[in-house]
Each structure stands twice: as structure tokens, then as C-alpha cells.
């Protein structure tokens, strides 16, 4: 199992997700359909998980080196978060949106097939590699989820209906996402000390990771200070997510980042 089988894998997952979402969204005989819909969504997620495991075995290294490989993890964690959120709060729209966003990222992988590459440079061969990337991908997925919530909130704000429910949900996601983001950042620092001799060198990736962290830090503080404000926190989440995306892959296009030690994608 490798990237050659990928089109089939996404086709199966997308079909299951579309059917599952459809069953969850139509307001008719909810009880029976919910169980079926959730099962379909879950199987779709498991297919992605199974592909990741197979790819890991096939590559003989953690599939976490290239952007495409990290997008794969994103396409796994985001639906998991959507699923758990649904189980907890029964937000149908949120599960649908998280599946949609995950599909976008998985589809990018379909459009830009990954170069299959078994090599892993010595700097990445570290016990920190897997925890660092996994924790970051969970953080990124949660924060993407908070952006979806913010999007809904902005829509409600524009419609002038209340947004407190969205903000409260966004708070939960940002708090947990921020905890993971902090852990990922600190794992990265501890690893950098072992690999490159210093825990922080203001490498472009580190700089943008700090900016991402500061963005969500601002959100948390702003929410504590002005819990009734609606538009500003929603805009902070949106802006912070843009910074996150720059940090994740926009960085490869920044002139300031041409010397980054974090570019592992080119082969």
C-alpha cells in the first residue's frame, strides 16, 4: 500500500463521508439514521487511518516528513475531532464542516501526488520526531476546527443572531488546541537542542510558530477580558489561522525563509 493506491482510498472515504453526512443532515427519522450515518463516517476515518498505517510500514519510516504526509494526518485528526464533537454536543453542522475541510486537504494530496521517498535525513531521526509532529497535527486540527466555528459565528454575527454558543465552543477548541500547540512548540525546542545545539534560533519556522502561538494567546486573553464582544474574537481566530497556515506551508514561499532548516519537502 503506497501513494499509488491513494486515489482509491480517498474515493472510498469521500463516498462514505458524503453518505454518512447526508444521513446525519436530513431531519427525518433521526434515531435510526444517526447510527448508520455515524458508522459510515467512522469507517471512512478508519480507511484513512489504515492507509496511514500501511504507508508507515511501506515507507519504513514515520510518514511525517513531507507536507503531503502531514496533510494526511490532518485529514485523519480533523474528522476525529468532528466526530468526537458530534458525540459530545450533537453539532451536525460541525461534523459536516470538519469532514469537508479534511476532504479539501486530502484532495490537495490527490491533485499533488507525493513523491514516494523512503529516505529520512539524520536530523529527523529522533525519538522527538513522532510526538512533535503528532502533537502539532492535533493542535492544527483543533485550531482549524475553531476556525470553522468562527466562520459560523461570523455568519451569525452578520445575520445579527447570537454568537455566544459558537464562541463558547471555539473557546473549548482553542484551549485544548493551544495546550497541544504549546506542547508541540516545547517538544520542538527540546528536540532542537539535541539536534542543532540550541533550543531556539529564530529560524523562520520557529518565528512563525511563535506568531501562531501569540495569535491564539491573544484570543484567550481577549476572551477573558471582554467575554461579551463578538466580532473581535472571531476575527482574531481567523487571523491566527491564516498565520498558522503560513507557518505550516506558506513559509516555503516566503523570501525570508529560504534558509530555514525546516524545509524537508524538496527531494
Amino acid at each position: 500500500m503506497n501513494w499509488l493506491n491513494y486515489p482509491l482510498v480517498v474515493l472510498v472515504s469521500f463516498t462514505l463521508w458524503i453518505l454518512g453526512t447526508f444521513l446525519l443532515l436530513i431531519p427525518f427519522k433521526r434515531k435510526q439514521k444517526d447510527a448508520a450515518g455515524l458508522t459510515l463516517v467512522a469507517v471512512g476515518i478508519l480507511v484513512i487511518a489504515w492507509f496511514i498505517i500501511q504507508l508507515w510500514i511501506h515507507l519504513d519510516r514515520p510518514p511525517m516528513r513531507t507536507l503531503g504526509e502531514t496533510r494526511l494526518w490532518y485529514g485523519f485528526f480533523l474528522p476525529v475531532i468532528g466526530y468526537l464533537t458530534f458525540l459530545r454536543w450533537r453539532y451536525r453542522w460541525f461534523l459536516a464542516l470538519s469532514l469537508l475541510l479534511a476532504s479539501v486537504f486530502l484532495f490537495i494530496n490527490y491533485l499533488h501526488p507525493e513523491n514516494y521517498d523512503k529516505t529520512l535525513m539524520p536530523a529527523l531521526q529522533s525519538p522527538w520526531f513522532v510526538p512533535h509532529v503528532i502533537v502539532y497535527m492535533i493542535a492544527y486540527s483543533l485550531l482549524a476546527a475553531s476556525s470553522l466555528v468562527a466562520l459560523k459565528g461570523l455568519y451569525h454575527h452578520w445575520k445579527e443572531t447570537g454568537v455566544q454558543e459558537e464562541l463558547s465552543l471555539a473557546d473549548n477548541m482553542v484551549y485544548i488546541g493551544f495546550a497541544f500547540l504549546t506542547l508541540g512548540l516545547l517538544f520542538g525546542a527540546l528536540w532542537a537542542k539535541e539536534a542543532w545545539g540550541h533550543y531556539w534560533t529564530w529560524d523562520p519556522k520557529e518565528t512563525w510558530a511563535f506568531l501562531t502561538w501569540a495569535g491564539y494567546l491573544s484570543y484567550i486573553h481577549f476572551r477573558i477580558y471582554a467575554p461579551k464582544k463578538a466580532l473581535t474574537p472571531l476575527l482574531i481566530i481567523s487571523l491566527a489561522f491564516v498565520i498558522l497556515l503560513i507557518c505550516w506551508f506558506g513559509i516555503n514561499y516566503l523570501p525570508a525563509a529560504q534558509n530555514s532548516v525546516h524545509t524537508y519537502s524538496g527531494s
Binding site: N2, L4, R88, W89, P113, E114, N115, Y116, D117, K118, T119, L120, P122, A123, Q125, Q164, E165, S168, L169, D171, N172, Y175, I176, F178, A179, T182, L183, L190, K193, E194, A195, W196, G197, H198, Y199, W200, W202, P204, T207, F210, L211, A214, G215, L217, S218, H221, F222, I224, Y225, A226, P227, K228, K229, L231, T232, L235, I236, L254, A256, N259
Partner: protein
């Protein structure tokens, strides 16, 4: 910035607007202070010709940090009820400091550092060296002040409820204070060792100055483990790799197969180190002997079968391609390192001796130095006669790590609290009430 609009109304929405600079201060004052610090910083930077600040080293950095800590403790102990100090430990002040710092880091993220071609304006504003610039220094000072004061005000006396707050805020203060305060004491030196040469203690710092060490090193052996080289289909005229869908290369391992367009290619034999003879490649251990593979290419269309040797070449031998038709050839890329290591012997001035194997991601500790495998001669690759190692001394590291572990504990705490918060999506009003009570207490 994004939080500018409607900020003032937050707490004074009931009555009329509070006049600017009349206590209690809010966001307008905070952002004005940030802007003032930014302008002052840029002015100082320009006035000093854009040289930035040099990180103080021991004992000055320790004295400065203790002084800063004492100022914060003093302000908290004696002036905590004064409006200005009350404001400095408030969320608007924290956010103003975060925004100022973030703005400067954003400049850092958008300007190449350090860049060779620095425009004079860039230099005079400190943009070519943001983290050493005056505006950054002032931003950090503001940050340390607000973070320190809020930690004392909200974190003490320690209550069960304030543990998460304390871990995060004190952790951050300690981490940043030790990282910035201690940066002047950090030493990073490199030593380039040659195989077959005697002990060397000649280190070089970042500025290229030679510095004698109290430890001498001797490189017994430098070795590289390589991945099997990749075989590609290339355009013979341009030597460019022919782009393929997904799997783009064949691994040079006996028996491996891969389809390049019309051609099904199989590796019949692989020699990691070989020399070309009249009959083909034969195994060799001499210096510069490149890897070579015997490959068989079968055309699905024309049913022809070609067999031949290809080699990546090395710094001594040219590469060998195999033409499959008039346009395309099979070629082997230079092998990539899986791991490289130096077998090193050392002797200290005190007469302590020893031997260690140095690898990337596996530094070695000797006499307070942390020693890293850095690089080797790229041109000669696995025959590199030299190995560059780096020696790092960072006496503040334990303090930085203390801060980092507090932050990690804080993050875990945040994770659990974040979970507790999810009682119901509508409980934000309750939270608000609690927050207001906290503000008032």
C-alpha cells in the same frame, strides 16, 4: 491592529467614555504605550547607527535579571494598589505587550535575517537584527514587567484554582528571562577534525576567531551509512528527471522493480562501491569508488530488453547513464546519508581521556560542553577525511528547562481545564461572572 475597534467600551459601556489617560487605563492607553515604546525603540536604534544591543554576559546579565525581578517584587509589594501598577497587571496591558512583541516578531518573520544586502534604512531601524534591536529590547522589558506583575497578583497566594495560571505565567517568565538573559553566556564553537591527524583543540567561533579549548580531540574514523541510491528516468539532453505520477524512483536494491512509462526496469545487481572495467563494474574498496547497479529495462511497447550498468559517479569518477531510447536514459542519483558518525578520542587539560561515537541527534557531554556532530566534507561524501563538530556551553539551560517543564505542566493543566469547561456550550455567562469576580477580587 485587530483589537483596536470598540475596545474601550468593554468595561465602560454603561456610562460615557472615560477620558484618555484617566485611570483606570484600558486598551487605548496600552496600545499607546506599545506604540510609544516602538517609536522610542526605533529612534534609539537609529541614533546608535543601527548596531543593536549586545547581550550582556555574566555577571552583568544576572545582575540585570535580579534587578528586574526586584523591581517587579518591589512594585507589587508597595504599589500594587496604585492605578498604574494595577493596570500593568491587567489583561489590556498583557495584550498590549503581546501585540507589541508579536508585531516585532512579525517583522522578523518577514525580513531575511541576517541578510547580506541590508538596506541602510533596514539596518538603522534594526530590521536586519530584530532580536538584538532596541525596540525588541523595550518590548521584552514591557512584556517581562506585565507578565511578572500579573503572575504575582493573580498567582499568589497559591490556591488550587490558580495552579494552572501560575504554571503557565511563571513558566513563561522563567523561560524567557533565562533564554534572553542567558544568551550572552552561550558559547558555540566548531572544531574541524581530520582523519589521521593528531589531537586538535583549535576551535572557531561564529565570527571566525580561533579559540583554544581545554579539551583536544582526535578523529579516529568518520563513517557514513547511506540509503540505496535512487534510480531515475532522465531526459538525456537536459539531464532532468522525468516527472512521474507519485512513485518516481527505483531503489538500487537487487530484485527491486519499477515502471518508468513504457519501461519496466529491474535491478539485477547492486554494488555499493565499485569501479568500471571493460566488462562492467566490479566491487572495489578504493577511495572514490562510486555505487553502481546492473539494470534491465524491458519495453512494453517494442518488446526490446536492454541490460547495462549505471552509476552515480563520485568526486573522482564520472556518472554512467544507460540510454533506453533516443530521448531518455536511466541514471543513478548520488546516495543520501542515512546516518553519519565520528569516532572520536579526547583528552582534557586535567588529563581525563576517553572515546565516544558522535552522531546527529546524539550529542555527547564532556566537561560542561555539549558536543554535536555537525557536518563533513560534502564533496567527498562518504570518503570525507574530515568531520566538523560543535561544542556548545549554555550555563542557563537548566533554568530554561525548568521554565519549559513548568509550561508543559501548565499546558497539560490547560488541557484538562479545557475539558472541564465543556459542561455546556451555554455556560459562558457563568464563566463571565466568575471572571468578573476575579477581576474585582
Amino acid at each position: 491592529m485587530f483589537v483596536k475597534e470598540n475596545l474601550e467600551k468593554d468595561r465602560y459601556s454603561g456610562g460615557q467614555r472615560r477620558p484618555f489617560w484617566q485611570p483606570p487605563w484600558g486598551y487605548r492607553e496600552g496600545l499607546s504605550i506599545s506604540l510609544g515604546l516602538l517609536i522610542t525603540g526605533f529612534a534609539l536604534e537609529a541614533a546608535t547607527g543601527g548596531t543593536g544591543l549586545k547581550s550582556p554576559s555574566f555577571p552583568y546579565n544576572l545582575v540585570i535579571l535580579i534587578a528586574l525581578l526586584n523591581v517587579i517584587l518591589f512594585l507589587h509589594a508597595f504599589f500594587r494598589d496604585k492605578p498604574v501598577i494595577r493596570w500593568l497587571s491587567s489583561v489590556p496591558a498583557s495584550l498590549s505587550a503581546i501585540i507589541l512583541l508579536t508585531f516585532l516578531v512579525l517583522l522578523l518573520g518577514l525580513t531575511p535575517q541576517p541578510s547580506i544586502e541590508t538596506h541602510v534604512i533596514q539596518k538603522h531601524l534594526g530590521l536586519s537584527h530584530v532580536v538584538r534591536s532596541y525596540p525588541f529590547f523595550l518590548a521584552m522589558l514591557f512584556f517581562f514587567l506585565t507578565l511578572g506583575l500579573v503572575t504575582l497578583r493573580r498567582g499568589f497566594p497559591v490556591k488550587k484554582k490558580s495552579i494552572g495560571f501560575l504554571l503557565n505565567h511563571a513558566g513563561l517568565w522563567i523561560t524567557l528571562a533565562a533564554a534572553f538573559g542567558g544568551s550572552g553566556d552561550m558559547q558555540r564553537l566548531t572544531v574541524t577534525l581530520q582523519e589521521g591527524k593528531d589531537y586538535s583543540n583549535n576551535a572557531v567561533n561564529a565570527e571566525g576567531e580561533g579559540i583554544p579549548l581545554s579539551i583536544a580531540f582526535k578523529l579516529l574514523d568518520f563513517s557514513i551509512e547511506e540509503y540505496p541510491p535512487k534510480i531515475f528516468l532522465i531526459q538525456t539532453s537536459s539531464l532532468e528527471i522525468v516527472k512521474q505520477k507519485q512513485v518516481s524512483y527505483l531503489e538500487s536494491t537487487q530484485g527491486k522493480k519499477h515502471t518508468f512509462g513504457d519501461w519496466e526496469v529491474q535491478v539485477l545487481a547492486f554494488l555499493p562501491s565499485a569501479l568500471q572495467q571493460d566488462t562492467g563494474f566490479i566491487q572495489s574498496t578504493i577511495m572514490g569508488a562510486p555505487p553502481a547497479a546492473l539494470v534491465e529495462a524491458k519495453s512494453k511497447g517494442t518488446a526490446t530488453t536492454l541490460t547495462g550498468w549505471i552509476s552515480s559517479g563520485s568526486f573522482m569518477y564520472p556518472p554512467v547513464f544507460m540510454r533506453v531510447d533516443e530521448k531518455y536514459s536511466l541514471a543513478m542519483a548520488a546516495p543520501e546519508a542515512r546516518k553519519y558518525s565520528s569516532d572520536i578520542e579526547f583528552i582534557t587539560r586535567e588529563g581525563k581521556t576517553g572515546r565516544f561515537l558522535l552522531e546527529v541527534n546524539k550529542p555527547e557531554k564532556i566537561n560542561g560542553w555539549k558536543i554535536y556532530q555537525v557536518s563533513y566534507q560534502a564533496k567527498t561524501g562518504k570518503w570525507s577525511p574530515e568531520s566538523t563538530i560543535e561544542l556548545v556551553r549554555d550555563p542557563w539551560l537548566p533554568v530554561v528547562y525548568t521554565g519549559i517543564f513548568l509550561l508543559m505542566a501548565g499546558a497539560l493543566y490547560l488541557f484538562w481545564i479545557g475539558k472541564d469547561r465543556k459542561k455546556s456550550p451555554g455556560d459562558s455567562d457563568k464563566k463571565e461572572v466568575i471572571m468578573q469576580q476575579m477581576e474585582q477580587s
